[in-house]
Amino acid sequence: MQFRNHRLKNGLEIVAECNDQAHSLAVGFFVRTGARDENDSITGVSHFLEHMAFKGTPLRSADDVNRAFDEMGAHHNAFTSEESTVYFAAILPEMQPASVELLADLMRPSLRKEDFDTEKEVIIEEIRMYEDQPPYRADDILKARYFKEHPLSRSVLGTVASIQGLSVGQMQDYFADRYGPDNIFVAAAGRVDFDRLIEQVTGLCDHWPAVHARRETPPAPAHRGFESIHRASSSQQYILQMAAAPASADKDRFAAKLVATILGDDSGSRMYWDLVDSGIAEQASLGHSEYQGAGLFYAWSCCAPDRANSVLASIHAIYQAAEESGITQQELAQAKSKVKARVVLGSERPRNRLFSVGGNWLSCREYRSVADDLQDIENVTLDEVHELLAKYPLSINTTLTIGPSRDIRPVPSTAQIA
């Protein structure tokens, strides 16, 4: 396993974790752009643009793009988040050159008006699909309530109205502002021919003009809030909570992952024993999401509507007990075993390593090996976990519920509507 990196004259960086023992490799173009870089007039444009990259380039039609990926046997896709748009392919080693050429071509899409109009319908279908599924886009509503004016408050998908209102010209302008070599990097993992990768990316991308894109990464202060949305057609009540947590470059993010595991992993955690094992809630979990400049603890639960108040009270009691009485050495050891095993098991597939290598480069311009992650997890002490709980109290959170119940009360009762 060897880390290698290279930077082109125009600023485009190439990073790779090369593993000669792997059967395959994964390669991706990571664009440092997402919902947090949008404004009200272009809400949803990053994700829409990701779809448009597959609709053709000066060299290829949309059919050509789809056929080319399939011909190389690629497992390919793309995704857009709050802070990145990633295009990737998992392929066999002999397909490295073909997949890099195709992915690089996608980074220069034609953005044709007629394709834009057809794809707009697909995006709207995607939004409507999520509107029909739990939590009925309440996650977007909660993000807006929690982050308020912060750039991370923005929806990745946008709304039917914001997508309908977008013009192809706005997308072209956004593309010109964000898709430059100084705002994109190439990451690869697995059986990578790195010298060939440098040679090829240089030939394909060194003429791309720089864009000097900027991003604001302010902190996001914690605050209490509560809202309940009535949705008669839902059979269950869904409870979502957000609270402050370490950001992607914070050293205490490993302690945060362990806290989330101890309190809210989907098996063996305090929420699991109190709520799921007992059959009170169908799900109850806590996770940690990290962004540049801000992080989130994100709790999710669903239960029968008439149980929602007691579930909310139980979750709050779990937070309070952790903050006041701490956690045990045994819980910490169990969580470390679990998280470390997941890191090792997840690292076997090159495509998983791609997202780890790319994710670290995106947020910190740092390479972290599997061993680095295992060491940092192991090094977390009980004191550090308790300091984290004091610094990022889960009991100060913004709560949103959605479902058929009209009788959901905030816990603690002093929480105000945000």
Partner: protein
């Protein structure tokens, strides 16, 4: 104890560009339990899958959901461990585990770092043979199952596809393992212990193990743990004759969900790979016909797919699309048109793209111990043997447009089961039953 050595399939290791395909070892114990294992040099993990003949097809009709409730009860303590120490000990070993209940089988799987495999298998022997099935946890377990059942109502795609299977397959093969509220509420602790006693048994149980493992150690340990497990006579299948069929389920949603099913050939049929190839041309990859015609050309939906769902003795192609209600009729018409067109044959270029995807999938499957332990166990279930990835790869190589078209001429998509769900029913295309 009898041993089948040397292994069923042995390939001389090769060097060079193509990674070596591992060897598969098998052993059948006197009590009927089958062990299938595939060591992999490059892995750091080891994974296991237990397939137990305890699927929901064995549920008595007035106890629908029993297999699922038994599965939930088995993870609430076993042997010397109560439910907390069961979970705790597995988590200290770093075992990522999962349980599921299907039509014929219940599956218990886990993966961990290789040097913890032996201890994990010890715990799973307790789980399968000596679960505590604690009566004082029946109500909590029942609540878990009732909540899972309720969650389906909020998941339109899942709900549609469960109902499509129920209507397409003859009972008990289309059952939903979640059962229903009335039958779940009737299940007693006696039902649980009886089901466990008759279905959790070596005859029909398959163990798949893969990753960084030593075959002699694995076969010895499985022998010690399960060699004296007594086979018993399992429960008889009870079927319900009258399956109520509806064409449309009312739902106040934005989108209309469309499901279409038609019969195909199962995994152990000699023509399975022909059927698989045909479905791949229809719904595999972004250059496949459904994605191209329904989403890319017409922008009718975000999600459209087709897959071949195989049981041991029957199979069906299941197609799905979800779209805004005012465009649902067009989507159904285009879907139907593409299914009929598939019967007219495929082109060689479509097949060559599909082969490229399948072959890279097969090679990438070797990078996951979990995927391999499940795959070899299921191979054994379907075939009574487990093929290496090289053997499967050769079967894929042998596919041709001519062979698939001959299959399609003999088995054109027809006799469709169509189900829609949304605010308004749709008009069925002609020739749709």
């Amino acid at each position: 104890m009898k041993r089948f050595c040397p292994p069923l399939a042995f390939l001389t290791p090769r060097t060079g560009e193509t990674p070596v395909t591992p060897t598969i070892f098998t052993h059948i114990f006197d009590n009927g339990l089958a062990l299938v294992a595939e060591p992999s040099e490059g892995a750091e993990s080891a994974a296991f899958t237990f397939l137990v003949p305890a699927g929901c097809s064995y549920d008595p009709p007035n106890r629908a959901g029993l297999a699922g409730l038994v599965c939930e009860m088995t993870i609430r303590g076993c042997g010397t461990r109560d439910s907390r120490s069961f979970v705790h000990d597995l988590e200290i070993l770093g075992v990522e585990r999962g349980e599921s209940v299907g039509i014929a089988l219940a599956s218990y799987s886990g993966a961990t770092i290789h040097d913890h495999l032996a201890e994990a298998l010890d715990i799973y022997a307790d789980l399968l043979r000596r679960p505590r099935l604690p009566a004082d946890q029946l109500e909590a377990s029942r609540q878990v199952c009732l909540l899972e059942l309720a969650s389906i109502d909020d998941d339109p795609v899942h709900k549609l596809m469960l109902e499509l299977r129920r209507q397409h397959y003859p009972d008990p093969w289309g059952r939903n393992s979640h059962g229903n509220v009335d039958t779940l509420n009737q299940i007693t602790i006696g039902d649980i212990t009886r089901f466990h006693a008759s279905q959790f048994q070596p005859n029909g149980t398959i163990v798949g193990v893969a990753g960084k493992i030593e075959w002699p150690a694995v076969v010895d340990q499985i022998g010690e743990l399960f060699g004296d497990w007594e086979p018993v006579k399992g429960m008889a299948l009870e079927t319900t004759e009258n399956i109520e069929c509806v064409r449309h389920l009312e739902m106040p949603s934005n989108q209309t969900q469309i499901g279409i099913a038609y019969s195909s050939v199962p995994y152990r049929h000699p023509d399975y790979f022909q059927a698989w190839g045909a479905v791949g041309v229809l719904g595999g990859g972004m250059s496949a016909r459904l994605f191209t015609e329904v989403r890319e050309r017409r922008g009718l939906c975000y999600s459209v797919q087709a897959s071949l769902n195989t049981q041991r003795d029957r199979a069906a192609v299941l197609c799905y699309a979800g779209t805004t209600s005012d465009r649902a009729q067009e989507t159904l018409d285009v879907l139907h048109q593409e299914l009929v067109r598939l019967g007219q044959g495929i082109r060689a270029d479509e097949l060559s793209r599909l082969k490229a995807r399948i072959k890279s999938s097969l090679i990438m499957q070797q990078e996951s111990s979990s995927a391999r332990s499940g795959a070899i166990a299921h191979e054994w279930y379907h075939l009574g043997r487990a093929r290496t990835l090289d053997e499967i790869s050769r079967l894929v190589d042998n596919l041709s447009a001519e062979s698939i078209n001959a299959f399609l001429a003999a088995h054109p998509p027809k006799d469709f089961t169509v189900l829609t769900m949304g605010p308004e029913p749709l008009e069925l295309p002609r020739a749709v039953s």
